[in-house]
């Protein structure tokens, strides 16, 4: 296994020196790689990057997000996706190509305050992101408890190949929908399970950067001792690779998107 070096940095700190490739949240200055965000560095053979510890959600095409409907014009809904960009959901996405503002009542489909899970269809940084709900498991979320966490904690909450979120879902008998923008909806049959899942999610948010988190989460969720021990071997690798999900790789995102929308892979 390749060696991963980590340290905490603030913007302007040197992440690594030498002939390395700058990945995300860093820039190259001469022979050194310099951080642009507060976070943990990770440098290996592929290059050097910073995994941010705080920050807002920056939209990317194909991300699955949870948004709230703010209002609608005659052609689209405007959706708050917890970002500096306001997203738009075109009316044609729901009514089809023969949509007519005169005949179709947009307010009956989605009204102010409704919560939707959607995919970012188009985003190129120059215009506001366009959403779509034309996919499996996308659309309006009718029930559930809504919570917000920092978008930088989302990769840790999902875990390596969805391991963390699956552990929480299984132990609390809930279904958890995660948006890349830090909005989460927890739906469960009973109040106890939902509360347990919410507590676990908050624990991940607060302790995302610490080691052995998976083990502590399992203790919180009362996962039997035998399972904790059998998983202990993989915990370390989980913790060191947690944030690999956070890098800007499209393949990874698609995989995570499916985990989010299905609740399981």
């Amino acid at each position: 296994m390749q060696e991963v070096k980590r340290k905490y940095v603030i913007p302007g700190d040197i992440v690594a020196e030498g002939n390395m490739r700058p990945l995300v949240n860093v820039f190259k200055n001469g022979n050194s790689i310099v951080a642009t965000r507060i976070g943990i560095t990770e440098s290996n053979q592929d290059g050097a990057k910073v995994i941010p510890l705080s920050g807002i959600y920056f939209p990317r095409a194909n991300d699955i997000v949870i948004g709230k409907i703010l209002d609608h014009s005659s052609l689209s809904w405007s959706v708050d996706i917890n970002s500096c960009f306001a997203a738009h959901l075109p009316a044609q996405d729901i009514f089809g190509r023969d949509f007519s503002p005169a005949h179709d009542d947009m307010g009956r489909q989605l009204s102010t305050g409704d919560v939707i899970v959607a995919r970012i269809a188009i985003f190129d940084r120059t215009r506001d992101p366009i959403l779509t709900i034309q996919d499996k498991d996308l659309g309006k979320i009718p029930t559930g408890e809504l919570i917000k966490i920092s978008p930088t904690r989302v990769p840790r909450l999902i875990g390596k190949r969805g391991s963390m979120i699956q552990t929480i879902e299984k132990a609390s008998s809930t279904r958890i929908t995660i948006g890349q923008n830090g909005i989460i909806v927890v739906s469960g049959k009973d109040k106890e399970g939902t509360t347990l899942a919410i507590n676990a999610i908050h624990m991940v948010e607060v302790e995302a950067h610490t080691s052995n988190l998976t083990q502590r989460i399992k203790q919180l969720l009362n996962v039997p001792e035998s399972e904790i021990e059998s998983d202990a071997q993989t915990n370390d690798s989980n913790d060191t690779t947690i944030n690999q999900d956070g890098i800007n790789s499209n393949n990874n995102d698609k995989e995570m998107g499916m985990i989010n929308s299905n609740g399981s892979k």
């Binding site: 709230k68 703010l70 708050d80 102010t112 305050g113 409704d114 919560v115 979320i141 029930t143 559930g144 408890e145 809504l146 909806v185």
Partner: protein, 274 residues
């Protein structure tokens, strides 16, 4: 908050449902009980060039108030009283929903309600702030800036104004050869009472004290009651379309008096006055 304007903060329908369920079970989304006030933090003399200042944090709502004392002409009809002007503004950094520009209705209401509480309680004995009757009086400006919005600006701003006024030091002015001279000395302000405002809102059939932004976005009606040190009601302001029954008003008034007493004790301790 006017009758016509809808809150700019939109709360998700799921969250509203969560809130209603929690409230009907006697608890709020932030784990507080229905009449529990968020923790209050006060720091005095945060602005060195002001005659008095206070920073107040009520939960996540933060307000800074500054007192500046000058001399000027009295208001018409109040020739034998000092002048006091309380203003408030909500800075754009305080919330994503606030835009720069002239104050909106809510901000004007904020300044007026806070001003009314302080003025009607006669917290400052303005009659003692006269230099030349009918001509020159002390003019006290209290300017408030809300620097973070998380609901209940009325109470947070009121506590900031009261703390700043109670802890300020008035410069001693004298009249020499018909001119006002600053002697360079300071004096204690003529404080007679400590007004405390308590805001209660109605969500569905339940009464909730000290609402957060989310709760304010779901409220039907709002009632702010200010009491003085004797526990008498000195000012009131009702907001929004919703209505209160007679029992509601009585219970809100009782709460304003009992909760107000507790808050007054805290303010006294923090400001260090008897």
């Amino acid at each position: 908050m006017s009758l016509s304007k809808k809150s700019t903060v939109i709360v998700e329908n799921l969250r509203k449902k969560q809130m209603r369920e929690a409230i009907s079970a006697g608890k709020r989304l932030d784990e507080r009980s229905l009449d529990e006030i968020r923790p209050i933090e006060i720091e005095l003399d945060v602005i060195k060039k002001a005659n008095g200042s206070a920073w107040v944090k009520l939960g996540n709502t933060e307000v800074v108030a500054g007192v500046k004392v000058e001399t000027g002409e009295p208001f018409e009809g109040l020739e034998n009283s000092g002048a006091m002007i309380i203003t408030a503004e909500v800075l754009p950094i305080a919330s994503p929903h606030i835009e720069p520009g002239p104050p909106d209705e809510e901000t004007i209401e904020l300044a007026r309600v806070v001003d009314r509480g302080v003025r009607e309680s006669e917290m400052l004995d303005l009659k003692k702030l006269v230099l030349v009757p009918g001509k020159i009086v002390y003019t006290i400006f209290v300017d408030c800036s809300v620097i973070n919005v998380d609901g209940n600006l009325l109470d947070a701003t009121s506590y900031a104004v009261v703390s700043a006024l109670a802890s300020c030091k008035l410069p001693v002015f004298e009249i020499k050869d018909d001119k006002v001279v600053d002697t360079g000395k300071t004096q204690e302000p003529p404080i007679t009472t400590l007004p405390v405002s308590v805001t209660t809102v109605k969500i569905g059939d339940y009464l909730i004290s000290d609402p957060t932004t989310e709760e304010e976005a779901c409220m039907d009606a709002r009632l702010t009651i200010t009491t003085n040190s004797k526990g008498s009601i000195v000012a009131m302001q009702k907001g929004l379309k919703g209505s209160f029954s007679m029992e509601d008003v009585k219970s809100i008034a009782d709460k304003a008096i009992t909760k107000g007493e507790g808050i007054r004790g805290k303010l006294k301790g923090m400001i260090n006055i008897g």
